[in-house]
């Protein structure tokens, strides 16, 4: 059995807390026994080989797994101490407070302006929409590139711009947490760099959880890193689990688990 090490001093104030979380798809256990805290205004990276359940856990935090009919979540996830899966919690409201950026940029087939304004409108934003759009685009470091083409389709932008548009769209509805599911995996290195710089900016105001396959990226942008691994069960399914969670420099330079050591040094995965 593996041990989950976790230095207590790194947990200042947990925004999100997972306790013994298991996720099933149908009858298959996909991830088991994940326990970790996501501290306030930090960047937490989830790394690990494919199929280790890092994205699955990420999607539990904003209840996106609700949309997968066969998915079932066990254990407890709290957001500011409140059970996210309690019956009185509205997943729609949860998703407004915990935003998400996806692996592939997915701007709506609407204008750049409308891409940003959409979330604000459906959430009943009563302020100045022009201001909100400009502010969101500035925060996503996209304003200067698109300010003269706000009425053009979001799909006309380059991949990197589209992803920053998606980030702008996510921050337009003032979330506290932004979940990023491999946000750079479909981007070229220069666009990736821009998004990483943006993440550095954003962590002043937001708590960020980022899933990444790119270990350099994890070491560059994150304060804390969680390493997940997968093991095969008798049935041939893979079950993911959390191996080690600590400050990023500990994970990369002095991990306590051998699997972590092997993964971060590139020996597998």
């Amino acid at each position: 059995m593996t041990q989950v090490s976790s230095s207590t001093e790194l947990v200042t104030e947990a925004v999100l807390r997972a306790q013994g979380v298991k996720v099933y798809y149908g009858t298959n256990l996909a991830v088991r026994d994940v326990t970790l805290d996501i501290p306030f205004n930090k960047v937490v990276a989830f790394i690990g080989p494919s199929g280790c359940g890092k994205s699955t856990i990420l999607r539990c935090f904003n209840r996106m797994n609700d949309l997968v009919a066969s998915a079932r979540v066990e254990g407890k996830i709290t957001f500011h101490g409140r059970d996210l899966y309690a019956s009185n919690i509205d997943p729609v409201e949860t998703r407004r407070r915990i935003g998400m950026v996806f692996q592939k940029p997915n701007p709506f087939p609407k204008s750049i302006f409308e891409n940003i304004a959409f979330g604000a409108r459906i959430n009943g934003y009563k302020g100045d929409m022009n201001e909100l759009v400009e502010d969101s685009l500035r925060r996503a470091a996209l304003w200067d590139e698109v300010k003269d083409q706000l009425q053009e389709s979001g799909l006309a932008l380059s991949g990197g711009q589209q992803q920053r548009l998606c980030i702008a769209r996510a921050i337009a509805i003032a979330p506290e947490v932004i979940l990023m599911d491999e946000p750079c995996s479909a981007l070229d290195p220069i666009s990736t760099l821009k998004v990483e710089e943006l993440i550095q900016e954003l962590k002043q105001q937001y708590t960020i959880v980022i899933v990444t396959h790119n270990m350099q990226q994890a070491s560059r942008v994150s304060d804390l890193t969680a390493f997940y691994n997968a093991e095969a069960t008798e049935g041939g399914n893979k079950v993911g689990y959390l191996v080690e969670y600590d400050r990023t420099e500990v994970i990369f330079q002095n991990p306590t688990q051998q699997a972590t050591q092997e993964y971060v040094s590139g020996r597998f995965g």
């Binding site: 904003n62 996106m64 935003g99 997915n106 709506f108 087939p109 959409f118 459906i122 769209r169 996510a170």
Partner: protein
């Protein structure tokens, strides 16, 4: 253990390039032949239409054709106001689309967004079977079931005080029941094609919308439907073309009375119904009445062509390309 593969210039390699080329040529020719047959058929139809239409306009002025308000090509005093037939076609197709648009679109949304995959797998083929019912069956369904039903409904409304006086009488042949049944007939077309369009909107867009705190309804109406718009519009236009060209239902249920106006309660004659009337009668080939059906056919063809061109343009203009 390892067997040596023959080297590239070994005598074991003797490709018959000549034969491959010959077979290639024959196959290509056969395909070309079949392609040419279908194109030639289309061209032949259009040319015949044009030829007879020109002959028709040699005898009837095109101005009269477009402006006359009477359609009596089989009477002693011949009048050729196509607008009479167009109004009837417009009326039945209009009623049809009023029925088919909400019915088809809502079932499409229901099937693709709300139904479980199992339900969808069962319901969609059933819906498509509806499109396979022969149109003559729809015709007598309209004439012998829908019309009497509507008539008794109208009669019942007529018994009410005050509003009863405003209820018109529904004749045995009428545009209303023909239009309604035509609408039911084209609903599967709208539903099935719109469903395809809605279903093919990438899941990532729905996820993006949900992740912003949108409800299911908001996601469907504000993200999914706009993204599927071009497909939905082209399905509706295809359905309209189908309604305009549909023959049996309107011939059986709407009647044979060329009458200008948009009153849905009286018998009218659509363009297709007129063509049936003349084709079934003993009109001698080469006579003016005979040429008339070509002119009407040409008009019908142009109308649907314009619709299809519009649809083509619209889809190209508004189609969203996702990777």
């Amino acid at each position: 253990m390892a067997v040596d593969l023959p080297s590239a210039n070994s005598a074991l390699w003797q490709p018959n390039r000549k034969r491959s080329k010959r077979v290639q040529f024959i196959v290509k020719s056969i395909f070309a032949l079949f392609a040419i047959v279908s194109i030639a058929t289309t061209a032949g139809i259009v040319l015949t239409l044009i030829y007879e239409t020109i002959a028709f306009f040699g005898e009837v002025s095109i101005i009269d054709y477009l402006t006359d308000t009477k359609w009596t090509p089989l009477f002693q005093s011949q009048k050729f106001g196509i607008i009479v037939l167009i109004s009837a076609t417009f009326l039945t197709s209009g009623i049809a689309i009023i029925v088919a648009l909400p019915l088809g679109l809502l079932s499409a949304i229901c099937l693709s967004e709300y139904a479980s995959p199992e339900v969808r797998k069962v319901l969609k083929p059933i819906l498509e079977i509806l499109a396979g019912v022969p149109s003559v069956v729809y015709g007598y369904f309209a004439l012998l079931f829908v019309t009497p039903l509507l008539q008794s409904l109208f009669a019942w409304f007529a018994t009410f005080p005050v509003i009863g006086l405003a209820v018109p009488e529904l004749e045995g042949f009428n545009a209303l029941s023909a239009g309604i049944v035509l609408g039911i007939m084209i609903t599967p077309l709208v539903a099935s094609l719109s469903e395809d369009a809605i279903y093919s909107v990438p899941q990532s867009l729905r996820d993006g919308s949900y992740a912003l705190g949108a409800t299911k309804r908001e996601t469907v109406t504000r993200v999914v439907l706009p993204a599927a718009l071009s497909g939905i519009v082209s399905s509706v236009i295809l359905a309209i073309s189908r309604a305009i060209g549909e023959t049996m239902t309107v011939t059986l249920a709407a009647g044979q009375n060329p009458r200008l106006g948009l009153n849905p309660f009286v018998p009218v004659m659509t363009m297709t119904a007129f063509i049936v009337q003349v084709s079934l009668g003993d009109t001698p080939a080469g006579s003016l009445a005979y040429k008339t059906i070509y002119a009407v056919g040409m008009t019908l063809f142009l109308l649907t062509l314009v619709l299809n061109l519009f649809s083509f343009w619209f889809v190209r203009r508004f189609r969203e390309k996702y990777e």
